[in-house]
Symmetry: C2
């Protein structure tokens, strides 16, 4: 469902080039539970942002469901993201003036087939299953770090997207809460065949994954062998 071909990402900073990603080629199968591991600064968030069409590669191509995303207009990309990609950001990116419930509801507003009552039920359901039923009316600054992370998780899952991109979704969670979240995602993966792509430092997410790749200094490594070799 996701094909990444010879993708590189370069930044220019103070006259120097920073190579965040170097010639990445990777096929991600439909319905997989994939963990991307690697040291801090190795390129995980950068890769997720490219897959999620929030950023564009410096070179190479990315295909979502067989379609080349570089062919798409900004409007088409926005529509693709709204409908089929749920993104859980490393820094959550919640809207500060909205409550937890309003934050989770926000992406649902773009799904025209839902009325207000259905949206309310769905928001209620997803906040309940991440353990935040009693915090629905809190705004982000009235929530703990791990509660904000769970609002971001509920928001991404609520649209029931084809692909969930989760950037370190358990970083701010204790063991018990983190385990519950992983279980929830595995359950959605099994039942709805949702593709899950994680960037993670958490050993438990890696153990739960059916496939694992490793990034080091912008290059893909797999089991000590560079992919494609």
């Amino acid at each position: 469902v996701v094909r990444i071909e010879h993708v590189s990402k370069r930044y220019v900073l103070g006259g120097q080039e920073v190579h965040a990603l170097k010639d990445i080629t990777l096929d991600i199968e439909d319905g997989v539970f994939l963990a991307i591991a690697g040291p801090s600064g190795s390129g995980k968030s950068t890769l997720l942002n490219l897959i999620g069409c929030i950023d564009t590669p410096s070179s190479g191509k990315i295909f979502l469901s067989g379609q080349d995303v570089s062919d798409k207009t900004p409007d088409q990309l926005a529509s693709l993201r709204a409908r089929s990609i749920g993104f859980i950001f490393q820094t959550f990116n919640l809207l500060p003036v909205l409550t937890a419930a309003e934050n989770v509801e926000y992406p649902l507003l773009q799904l025209l087939h839902m009325d207000a009552e259905e949206r309310r039920e769905r928001v209620h359901y997803f906040l309940k299953i991440v353990g935040l039923a009693e915090k629905m009316r809190h705004r982000p600054n009235e929530l703990s770090g791990g509660q904000r992370q769970r609002v971001a998780i509920a928001r991404a899952l609520a649209i029931e997207p084809a692909i969930v991109l989760a950037d370190e979704p358990t970083a701010n969670l204790d063991r018990k809460t983190g385990d519950a979240i992983i279980e929830l995602m595995k359950d959605i993966n099994r039942r709805l065949k949702t593709t899950f792509i994680f960037s993670t430092h958490d050993q438990r997410v890696m153990s739960a994954a059916d496939r694992q790749v490793r990034i080091e200094d912008g290059s893909l490594r797999m089991l000590g062998v560079r992919t494609g070799e």
Copy 2:
């Protein structure tokens, strides 16, 4: 060095009271390496903010080095914080328009005994030991999540404060980088007798700690026995 006496913290939200901390009494010895563990939403950040004088309790008293902090004027508190408390925030709170080096230097500007050259050396040293020597000129939005966390860590350590308050300092770090940070902090703790108070979900920080307390739903628990009973 830190004494917390019958401290409670309450919020009013939508006509309801939220009890974030309930009657906390705790003595924290000079030079201890203390880990505060507990589920997401249990009150860890709230407690750290009270100790760091960033927030005030609803009831109870907090003493730093024997002095009641509620007696102090805002100016005195600001000066106390600038000189003796290094705070590593759960959400980093870096200044977006400054580079990593400028962010680390910022609190040093309040230490009038240092000249520009000494500051430069100290900034260089602390960014180097958290592994960011090559990222000194990057701004926060040009850094990965874990790199930002390490800038926040370097910034807190650089003033060589008497007390370091670290709110989940390893949340965004891979195992290897996280271990190095814990080792660094243990070393500073041994050599300079700096008091370290962590809020953490990380088992490795808990194992490195010489003392551990647990918070659950705003109340202190220690080894299954409520403190003070």
